[in-house]
Structures are given as structure tokens and as C-alpha cells.
């Protein structure tokens, strides 16, 4: 099964120069665990910020999230995968890099994101399909 079949195409994002507080507000409001961090330039130059980054690098250290920019704690560049790649390859890459999501790209453009739950859903669908080629 190709990653494009199960990827999410709505990717919530935040500009790199915004504060961590802005990112927290957006993530809590939308109940999501990560945001794409938009740096100037090409999509592949973007980064990612996760709830884990915010809690461990800012809140647990009792730093003020309003004083820290998203760009300071974002991980970059993002890990990208071709839209025609197999979901098993994405899972292997996530395991290797110990990450919970990979972005899906078409050329140099980010078009979606695949997370752990999507990999599990993909595994169920592949099993349900059995020998049927889709």
C-alpha cells in the first residue's frame, strides 16, 4: 500500500519566528501533537515541533514559552518520503529514526503526513485485502 493512500493532507503549521506559546495554543486548540514549522524558502527546509519537544525542552525546564521562538526548539530538516513509497518502508524509516511521523513529498513539495496510527491502519487494510491487488 502506498503512503499517499493513508496520508493526512491537512498539515497544521506555525511560522518559525512565532513563539512556543503560539504553537502550544494551536496544538491544544486542535488537539494535535505536532506542527510543521515553516522556515523561509523551500518546503524541504521546514522543520517540525512536537508536544514532546515543547514539554521537555521548555515547560519542564520552567522556561517561559512566550520568550522562546519555535525555531529554537524545532527539529529540522523534516524527514520526507515519496508519495509512491510503500507504507512498510515508511514504518522502517520511522523505526530507524525513532520518530512518530514522516512527511510525504511530491518533488520538493510537502503534500501530506503519515503517523504511527496511519501505519497501523495501513497494516489492517493490507491484511483485509489479502491477495487482492489494488
Amino acid at each position: 500500500m502506498k503512503v499517499q493512500e493513508l496520508m493526512k493532507t491537512k498539515i497544521a503549521s506555525v511560522d518559525a519566528d512565532r513563539s512556543v506559546y503560539d504553537a502550544v495554543e494551536k496544538m491544544v486548540d486542535r488537539r494535535i501533537r505536532s506542527l510543521l514549522v515553516r522556515f523561509p524558502g523551500k518546503d524541504l527546509n521546514h522543520g517540525i515541533i512536537t508536544a514532546r519537544d515543547i514539554v521537555f525542552k521548555v515547560l519542564a525546564k520552567r522556561l517561559n514559552p512566550r520568550d522562546i521562538k519555535v525555531s529554537e526548539i524545532a527539529a529540522k530538516p523534516v524527514v520526507c518520503f515519496d508519495k509512491n513509497a510503500d507504507i512498510a518502508e515508511a514504518a522502517a524509516l520511522m523505526e530507524k529514526k525513532k520518530i512518530a511521523r514522516v512527511f510525504v513529498c511530491e518533488g520538493e513539495k510537502i503534500i501530506g503526513v503519515i503517523s504511527l496510527i496511519d501505519i497501523m491502519a495501513g497494516a489492517l487494510i493490507t491484511r483485509a485485502r489479502g491477495n487482492h491487488v489494488s
Binding site: E5, K8, T9, A121, L124, I125, A128, R129, G130, S134
Partner: protein, 209 residues
């Protein structure tokens, strides 16, 4: 061949299951045609969909008349007829949605998401065909219906984001807005009905045991 064995299929019954399979395969072709016409913005191709809807009506009539001519045990007939009606309802919605598409214009901002729903509609339909084939073979349907629900959930998520997005699109008059709203509603309802039909397959499967 669970269903076929239990019902020791007579010629009439074989015709019914054959036509049911044909009906669902036609549904897959119709979803594929809808997706291609939408992606290519090909209005002529979209008009062909209306012909497929008519073909579906004729298959439905054939199945139901064969059932009432005496195919299958009487207690099974209402469920089988209901199932065929639900499948036919998907064709009706596809036809209506094609007409809304021909009447209006999809705004650029939501085209990508609409293409994605059309793609997932095709995928859910293919899984529905696999589920039907599994019923005929007597296989367990649990995994298949779960896969259908996964696809349906994906489409539901896109639906909510589409509804949010269309609120931001300027509309020049009432009819333009209504047609766009009906188009999105139709596009995102197809998977709901296929999910209902797959639930019905499960009911038929259970009632056989």
C-alpha cells in the same frame, strides 16, 4: 463457497449472486470514472456516469425480480433486497453529485481535498467488493468491514475540514452556494452508504449461521 453451499445455489440463485457481483463491480467502475472525470475536469466523461447509473437500475430490477421469482429462502429475501437497494442508493448519490459538479464549479481552494475524497471513495468501493467476495467464499468479514470503517473515518475527517474551508469561500448567490454545499455533501456521503451496505453484508452473513 459458504453462501453458495448453504443455499445450494440453483440457477436462479447463481444468477442473483452473479448480478450482485456485477452490480458492485459496476459501482467500482463508476467511482473510478467519477474520480478520473473530477481530476481531469472532463465534463463529457462525467456525463457518462449518468449512463452507468441507468445500467445499475436495470441490474437492480433484474436482481429483485429474480429474488421474488423464488431465488433464495423466503426469510433471506428482504435482507438481500435491502442490500441491493442500498448499493443502488450509492449510484443515485454518485449521479446527483455528478450533476452538481456539472451545474457548478469547484473552487481551487478545495479541489485537492475533493480529489482525495474521490480517490478514497474508489478505495472503499474496492474493499466493499472484496468483502462481498469474502461473503460468497464463507470467509470472516470482520477484517474487511474494519478496513471499510478505516476508509470511512478518513473521509469523515476530510469532510469536517472541507466544511470549515467552504465557509471561507466567497459565494456570489444562493444557488452557487447551495450547489457547492450539495456537491460536497454528496461526495462525502458515498462512503457512509457503502459502510451501511457493508454492515448489511455482515447481517446477511450472521443470519446464515
Amino acid at each position: 463457497m459458504f453462501l453458495e453451499k448453504i443455499l445450494s445455489l440453483s440457477k436462479k440463485e447463481q444468477e442473483v449472486t452473479g448480478n450482485m457481483r456485477k452490480h458492485i463491480k459496476l459501482l467500482c467502475s463508476t467511482c473510478d470514472l467519477f474520480k478520473t472525470a473530477l481530476e481531469k475536469d472532463d465534463r463529457n466523461l462525467m456525463r457518462n456516469l449518468i449512463d452507468l447509473e441507468r445500467e445499475s437500475d436495470s441490474i437492480r430490477r433484474e436482481i429483485i425480480s429474480k429474488i421474488y421469482e423464488g431465488a433464495f429462502l423466503p426469510y433471506l429475501r428482504p435482507d438481500l433486497c435491502r442490500f441491493v437497494e442500498i448499493v443502488d442508493h450509492v449510484f443515485d448519490i454518485l449521479g446527483d453529485t455528478a450533476n452538481y459538479y456539472l451545474d457548478g464549479k469547484i473552487p481551487e481552494q478545495i479541489k485537492g481535498e475533493c480529489f482525495r475524497v474521490a480517490y478514497l471513495n474508489l478505495k472503499i468501493c474496492e474493499m466493499f467488493l472484496i468483502t462481498f467476495e469474502a461473503l460468497l467464499k464463507g470467509d470472516d468479514l470482520r477484517e474487511k468491514t474494519l478496513a471499510i470503517r478505516i476508509y470511512e473515518k478518513k473521509i469523515d475527517d476530510i469532510k469536517f475540514s472541507l466544511i470549515k474551508d467552504i465557509r471561507k469561500i466567497p459565494i456570489s448567490n444562493f444557488w452557487e452556494g447551495k450547489i457547492l454545499s450539495d456537491f460536497i455533501s454528496g461526495l462525502t456521503t458515498i462512503s457512509d452508504i457503502i459502510e451501511d451496505a457493508s454492515d448489511y453484508l455482515q447481517i446477511i452473513n450472521v443470519s446464515m449461521k
